[in-house]
Structure formats: structure tokens, C-alpha cells
């Protein structure tokens, strides 16, 4: 090969060839860093999922079942009847482009197939071909295309490049929700054994042991005790959470990252301090020890299968109602799916705060309350002794996590809490928060190492807004109510805005909470010195 001159080198390849979007050709080898490793055969086997095998997207032959086209066609036909959302969203899009610049992956990469409309069109074109008169008659002119291996590979690439954040759905005049399209497309991909290990392994682990990491119950218990020790070290307060205790008033379910992962553990310490300070009668469960539900990134059946444990355990333990920790996709499942899938929860009581007596009427049927709803109510009723100056070393902004914002609408509760426990609170620009919040770029099972570059690209819009408040207000703490955020925003910040740390809201509650018997606090829960060498101010 002749040596290229420097000028040639920089000229070359810059302008991608003008290709019709309908002719896909994904070079997986060249795009390392933007896709996730496939599901390991052992996990598929454990779950009883189709087509377990060892394969790689870089392989020419993906070892699909012989009749894979038929399987997908039938699977799509079935889902068109089951989900009005799917049928309608495939029919009514007018390709107006309102969603085009709303996807964080598009904004960070410029790849036109990351525009939500085109992501959906990848499936829509096949739907036209197989199910609509116009598509059948007109073929390509009618926007229809056959499901070829290349098209399937493209599905795998782009439907595992959507974080199901629903931001595009906010701006669509028909409410077309790419998350719904992606969820159902992933169901179809699962039918022929196309999934990613970062989703399938947590699913398998969660089903078997009760948490994403596959930690067994005795280790779970040791770990909780370890965190209790650490917490005592930081505060001088010994909390005593119980595990699998029958007759407790509340079952408390949190995402497992809150007791395994940094920085989630500090949020977990915040929960424990809060519940201890109030003397709430609660228990954790080693069986239903995962609030998260990667079924949401697999299939509706898998959501139900994993979510089953929460009500099952609540019933067994005989609790009155369920309290849930800070987690994004967990709350999408609990808010929008749990009762319908595994209810009715008629063995539980309508939730009432044992401290304030407030009835959480908004959770009357599902009987599970978000801890931010619980805490906001406590603060409003003056039930917490708080010393917000203990968060003076932090200048805080709040990242609305996608699911709590756009599938639930829990916007004010965490803000109310933050304003009560910290004195320096600053909002990011308004088209980057609340229902318009930007995704961390790593939800829906994409928060894995091998997909790092895509995550950093997709996280650019969020990081960019954080950088703005960092530069303008000196913000150094990004609070959020999502376990995936706590893990992946930390990485995102380390790359884009290293001066900013990430934490849950209840970590800051834990910092500010004044508890009987605590030692003079000169550090926060992370062991970092408080502002101005200040000790225990008002207690």
C-alpha cells in the first residue's frame, strides 16, 4: 500500500458516502466501543431463552435459527395485536423531524440513525414490507424493505444504542415513544437469541440470587453489616437494619448498586440513617433484594418474572406496604407495570406514613411509595432535624433521571428535599432538566465497559449542561435519584467535568440529618471534611 501523505490522511474518509439509509452496512469491527458484548450462552440457558450460543457481532455468521425471519415476522404479528402502542406508532409517524435533535446519542455523535425517527424507521420499514398494503405493493418506493441479515444486524446495533429515556416522546406530536419501539424490538431480537450480556447476566443473576451481581444471601447480609460498620465510623450511630424479618411494618426495596457500588453506598447509608432516626419498623429482604429490573431491557415477560419477587416477599413477610429506594428504571417498572403484572396487592394496606400519618393516596393501589415522597412529607411536617450547613462544602445541582421524570413525574419531591438539606442548590438550564432532562447515556443496559465510547458521546449533552453550572456557579455535586446514574454519571463526569461528583439525594439527607447519639460530625458520609473545618453545628 503506498504511503499516504499527511494531507491525504486528513482528507480521507471525512465525508461519508451518501448512502440511502435503507441500505445498512454496520462494520462492527470498526465500531468497537459503541456496541455491547452479546449475552453469554450460560445465562440464556439458565433463563430458558432461545438460541444460546457463543457468538460475536463481529462474526459474519450470527448463528441464527434457520427460520429466523419467520420467527421475527410471527413475533411482530403477535405484538402488533398485543400492543396498540406499537401498531399506532408504526402507522402514524409523519417524519416531521421534531424528535431529530432530541436524542442524546444523536447530539453527541451526529450519526443520523440515532435520530429517534430513523431508529423507529428501521423497524417500521420491515413492518411496511410485511404488514401493510402500500408496502407490499410499492416495496422500496413505499418505504418498505425486507428483513435481511444486514437489516437485523442494524437492529441489533441501534436498538442496543437507545437508552429508552423517552425524551423524544415528549416532543412528538403523537407521543410516539421510541422506548416502546426499542423495548418491543429488543423482544423480537431476543426471540432469535440477540441480546447483550450486560442485560442478560443481571437478569439471570437477579432471578437466581435476587440481585444483579449474583451475590448470595449470606454475602448480602455481611455486606449490609459492613456498611453499618462504616456508617458507625462516620457518624457514631449504630443502625440495625433487619433482613427477612416477618411482621415488620414496611418492606424496603432498593437497587442493589446502593449496597454494592460506589457511590451508591453513601445513598444507602443515608436511607439507613433516616429510617433509624425515625425509628421506622422496616425490613430489608435478601430474596427481593433488587429494586432494579433489567427485564425492562429484555421483554415484558421478563419484567414480570423478576418483579414477581417484590409482592411475593411482601406477602410472605406480612408487611403493610413497601418503600422503594432511589432508582430510575426500577420506578418505571413499579409505577407503570408492577400492579398490572403482579397485582392486585390486596394483601397490603394503603400506605400511610407511620411518622406523619400522611396517606400516600397516589400509591393507594400499588402500595409502594418512593422514598423521596416519604422524605419530602417528613420534612414538610418538620419531623427531621436537619443541619443543611453540613452540606455547605457542596454546591449541588439535580439531574432528573429519565424514568422518574418522564414515566412518573417525580420532579418536585427531590428538589424540595435538596433545598431543605443543602444551602447551595442550582438548576441546570431549563431545556436540560425536568421532563426535558438529558439521559446519562448509559441506561437500558448500555452502561457497560465495552460500550464506553458511545456512552461518553451520548452523555455529552448532559455533561455539557453540568459543565455550564460548574463554570457559572461552581457546582461540584450532581445529585440524582437513579442507581444507574450514580454509577455512569460518575464516569461521565470523570471524563467531561472531573470537578463534579455524583450522589443520590439521600446521601445529602444523611449528611444533614441530626441524630441523637451521634458524634460531632467533621466529615460527610464519604469521609470528606465539612466546610470551614466546621464540626457539629447546631446539634
Amino acid at each position: 500500500m503506498p504511503e499516504k501523505t499527511r494531507d491525504e490522511l486528513v482528507q480521507i474518509d471525512f465525508k461519508p458516502p451518501e448512502r440511502e439509509w435503507m441500505d445498512p452496512a454496520i462494520d462492527f469491527e470498526a465500531r468497537r466501543g459503541t456496541w455491547s458484548y452479546p449475552g453469554a450462552a450460560k445465562n440464556l440457558r439458565y433463563l430458558g431463552f432461545p438460541n444460546p450460543r457463543e457468538w460475536s457481532p463481529t462474526d459474519e455468521d450470527w448463528q441464527l435459527p434457520e427460520n429466523w425471519q419467520q420467527i421475527i415476522h410471527d413475533g411482530l404479528a403477535e405484538r402488533l395485536n398485543k400492543y396498540r402502542s406499537l401498531k399506532l406508532f408504526l402507522d402514524v409517524c409523519v417524519r416531521c423531524g421534531a424528535c431529530a435533535d432530541k436524542c442524546h446519542f444523536y447530539l453527541g455523535s451526529g450519526d443520523p440513525k440515532n435520530m429517534p425517527v430513523l431508529r423507529a424507521e428501521l423497524l417500521r420499514s420491515v413492518y411496511r414490507n410485511d404488514f401493510t398494503a402500500a408496502g407490499k405493493i410499492l416495496g422500496r418506493i413505499g418505504g418498505a424493505r425486507k428483513l435481511t441479515p444486514a437489516v437485523l444486524k442494524e437492529w441489533f446495533y441501534y436498538f442496543y444504542q437507545c437508552t429508552e429515556c423517552r425524551r423524544c416522546s415528549v416532543f412528538c406530536p403523537y407521543g410516539i415513544d421510541t422506548a416502546e419501539i426499542t423495548m418491543l424490538a429488543r423482544e423480537l431480537l431476543n426471540l432469535v437469541g440477540l441480546n447483550i450480556n450486560w442485560v442478560i447476566e443481571p437478569v439471570a443473576n437477579c432471578d437466581r440470587t435476587g440481585n444483579h451481581l449474583g451475590i448470595q444471601p449470606h454475602t448480602f447480609k455481611d455486606n449490609i453489616e459492613f456498611l453499618v460498620d462504616e456508617l458507625e465510623g462516620a457518624t457514631g450511630v449504630r443502625v440495625a437494619p433487619s433482613i427477612n424479618r416477618k411482621g415488620a411494618e414496611l418492606l424496603f426495596v432498593v437497587p442493589s448498586a446502593d449496597y454494592f457500588a460506589e457511590p451508591g453506598i453513601y445513598t444507602f447509608m443515608g436511607y439507613l440513617l433516616l429510617l433509624h432516626a425515625l425509628g421506622v419498623d422496616y425490613t430489608l429482604s435478601a430474596y427481593a433484594s433488587e429494586g432494579g429490573n433489567f427485564g425492562l431491557f429484555t421483554s415484558h415477560d421478563t419484567i414480570k418474572r423478576l418483579n414477581y419477587k417484590i409482592y411475593h416477599e411482601a406477602k410472605r413477610l406480612g408487611v403493610k406496604w413497601i418503600l422503594g429506594g432511589e432508582c430510575g428504571h426500577m420506578w418505571r417498572v413499579i409505577h407503570q407495570y408492577m400492579d398490572t403484572m403482579n397485582g392486585p396487592a390486596d394483601f397490603l394496606e394503603p400506605p400511610v406514613s407511620p411518622i406523619t400519618g400522611t396517606a400516600f393516596t397516589n400509591a393507594a393501589a400499588t402500595k409502594m411509595v418512593h422514598i423521596c415522597e416519604f422524605t419530602a412529607d417528613l420534612i414538610k411536617h418538620g419531623k427531621l432535624r436537619l443541619d443543611p450547613s453540613r452540606n455547605d462544602h457542596l454546591r449541588v445541582t439535580f439531574h432528573d433521571s429519565c424514568n422518574p421524570a418522564r414515566a412518573m413525574g417525580i420532579l418536585e419531591e427531590p428538589r424540595y428535599i435538596l433545598r431543605s438539606v443543602a444551602r447551595n442548590f442550582f438548576e441546570m438550564p431549563e431545556n436540560t432538566i425536568r421532563e426535558q432532562t438529558f439521559c446519562c447515556g448509559a441506561g437500558a443496559g448500555l452502561g457497560n465497559d465495552e460500550n464506553m465510547e458511545m456512552r461518553l458521546r451520548g452523555g455529552l449533552p448532559r455533561a455539557n449542561a453540568v459543565r455550564f453550572v460548574h463554570e457559572k456557579h461552581g457546582v461540584n455535586r450532581l445529585a440524582c435519584i437513579c442507581a444507574i446514574d450514580r454509577a455512569t454519571l460518575t464516569t461521565l463526569m470523570e471524563y467531561w467535568v472531573p470537578e463534579v461528583d455524583v450522589s443520590g439525594v439521600h446521601e445529602l439527607v444523611g449528611n444533614a440529618l441530626v441524630i441523637d447519639g451521634e458524634k460531632p460530625r467533621d466529615t460527610d458520609l464519604r469521609g470528606r471534611p465539612l466546610a470551614g473545618g466546621k464540626g457539629d453545628a447546631d446539634a
Binding site: W21, S85, K87, G97, D301, R305, N362
Partner: protein, 329 residues
């Protein structure tokens, strides 16, 4: 170029009707095709809506665009995050009448001095709204042809529409807006490289067809000026199911009618079904009362997860060793 094909097709369709009518096919273009198209339209739309209705809505999946109703002292957003059926209906209605979601587009700007401003980015919203409303008004104005006596409300609309009293015959504002809005929507699709990339024939053809209808309509009203009495005779015959084709109607009228005919017949098979679909969108028309009320999935599969008993059985010894309470010893 997809857009060129679409326009050529529309010109061809208009030409077929024009020369077809001139060659004695008035009955075909004036009666047979319109009836066929009307049937196709009605049956097609009904079938489409029924097919949507037949698909179930297993889960409540509203996209929440505001504060939920939770604690009594936190102000909820009843329209963007409705917790009642009435709120959801209002949300859909506002979506249909004002294109609220498109209205959300904002553009922020960093002004000198670090000040931040948000200005609306409403071009798409304005263009879409202008097109849909002017089309509606033009549509309603055509009732003049189908009813005798002309309903008073049609007269009011005409009065308002021709408010500026420009030209003779009076120029209707909506005629100008309709053509301009369609032109804008087309220009936008061509000018924006992203939209050009993703636009299909099915995006250009309706625009071309609507422009064809609008342009032939404008030609008829302001330039060709056919014998309105006879046109009305044709129209009333059609709606009264006593079709008769009066002689001496300009062939351009048939071109105009034929393009409308094509639009009707094309409608149920195209993206234009969004007109009906928007009412059924599960992310918009459901109340966010998920945790308040129980919702039932009609085909809820009988899936049982890994039960506690199975779990305890598997980890029995470890549970016991670590002192976690057991159901069975």
C-alpha cells in the same frame, strides 16, 4: 429525487383528469371516482381505527411531562401529567387543537454577559398549525357547494376569511396561508439535510398532492372562474345520491376534484391516518394514575418468578449459617 417524482405524479394525475374530462369522461371523474374514493376513505379509515382498537393496551404508559399528583402540598401539572381521565382528555384535545408537543421546542441562547435566555423555536409548530387550520377553513368553506341553502356558519367563515376585502373576487386569507404553509413544510423537508435523508416518497407525495389541490383550487376561484351554479349542481347531486353531470363545467374542475379523490383514496393507506391515530396514542391519552388505581392487562401471562420457597431451598444452608430467618427449618 423523490420530491420530483411526487410532483410529476401529481401533475400527471391532474392531466389525466383534465384531458379525460375534456374527452367526455366527466361522469367518470365527477361521479364514479368520487364515490369509489369516498367508500375507500370511509371503509379504510374505519378499518384502520378498528385495527388499532383491536390491539390491546396492556399497560398504562403515559409520557409524563410535568409534576405528578402526589403529596397534597405539591402542585401537580394537570395537563402535562394528568391524574384523571378528564385531564388526559384535555391533554389530547390540546394536542389536537394546538399541537402542544411541537410547541415545546425552545432554543436557549447565551447572551453577552452570561445571561441566559430561552426563546421559542416554533417554526415547525407554526407551519404545521397554519397548514392544518387553513386547510380546515378551506374545507368548511366548500360546504357552500354541497348545501342549499348555504348554512349561515359557512357565510360567517367566508366573511372572516375574506376580512381584508382585497381583490375581486375577495381573496381568502386561508388560500394564501394554505399554499404558503405547504410550501414552507416542503421547503423545510428539502432544506434540512437530516429531513431530506429520512424523507420518503410517502412524505413528499401528500405535500405535492395537497399543493396540487390548493393550486387548482386557487386557479379555479381567481382565474378560471367556472360556472359555479353548475359545479354546485354536480356537488349537490353527489351528496344527494342523485348524481348528474351538468354540461359545460371546466375540465380544471375535474382535475381539482380528481386530486381530492386521490387524496381520499390514499388517506387510509398513508401516514395521513395520524388524523385519527392521535386520539389513540397511549402515551398521551392515558391518565398517570398508575399507582392510584389498579389497571388490568387483558392477556396478562401466567408467569411466576423464582419463588421464595425455591430460593430458600437453594440457599438454605447459607441462610441458616448467617442467621437469616427461614420459613422451614
Amino acid at each position: 429525487m423523490r420530491v420530483v417524482w411526487s410532483f410529476l405524479l401529481v401533475v400527471l394525475l391532474a392531466a389525466i383528469a383534465f384531458f379525460g374530462a375534456e374527452a367526455g369522461g366527466q361522469a367518470l371523474f365527477g361521479v364514479v371516482f368520487p364515490y369509489v374514493a369516498m367508500v375507500v376513505f370511509l371503509v379504510g379509515i374505519a378499518a384502520r381505527v378498528l385495527s388499532w382498537a383491536r390491539s390491546t393496551v396492556p399497560f398504562r404508559i403515559p409520557t409524563t411531562c410535568g409534576q405528578q399528583r402526589s403529596l397534597p402540598w405539591i402542585k401537580p401539572a394537570p395537563l402535562d401529567n394528568p391524574s384523571t381521565g378528564r385531564g388526559a382528555a384535555a391533554r389530547v384535545l390540546l394536542e389536537v387543537l394546538t399541537f402542544r408537543s411541537l410547541f415545546r421546542n425552545t432554543r436557549s441562547e447565551l447572551r453577552p454577559g452570561g445571561r441566559f435566555t430561552f426563546s421559542p423555536d416554533k417554526w415547525l409548530w407554526a407551519g404545521a398549525l397554519a397548514f392544518h387550520y387553513s386547510f380546515l377553513v378551506v374545507f368548511l368553506r366548500h360546504y357552500r357547494f354541497f348545501a342549499e341553502p348555504v348554512p349561515a356558519v359557512v357565510g360567517w367563515i367566508e366573511g372572516l376569511d375574506g376580512f381584508f376585502q382585497v381583490g375581486l373576487p375577495v381573496v381568502y386569507l386561508t388560500d394564501i396561508v394554505l399554499v404558503a404553509a405547504l410550501g414552507f413544510l416542503l421547503w423545510r423537508r428539502l432544506e434540512d439535510a437530516r429531513l431530506r435523508y429520512l424523507s420518503l416518497h410517502a412524505d413528499y407525495f401528500p405535500l405535492a398532492l395537497l399543493l396540487g389541490i390548493a393550486v387548482t383550487g386557487v386557479l379555479l376561484r381567481y382565474f378560471v372562474r367556472p360556472d359555479v351554479v353548475r359545479v354546485k349542481e354536480l356537488a349537490i347531486g353527489l351528496v344527494g345520491l342523485h348524481p348528474a353531470v351538468p354540461q359545460g363545467i371546466s375540465p380544471l374542475v375535474f382535475a381539482h376534484i380528481f386530486l381530492v379523490t386521490v387524496l381520499l383514496a390514499y388517506f387510509p393507506f398513508s401516514k395521513l391516518v395520524h388524523m385519527a391515530g392521535v386520539f389513540l396514542s397511549p402515551t398521551r391519552n392515558l391518565a398517570n394514575d398508575n399507582r392510584m388505581r389498579r389497571h388490568v392487562n387483558p392477556w396478562n401471562p401466567a408467569i411466576v418468578g423464582h419463588t421464595y420457597a425455591e430460593w430458600e431451598h437453594e440457599f438454605h444452608d447459607k441462610l441458616k449459617a448467617s442467621g437469616i430467618p427461614l420459613d422451614e427449618e
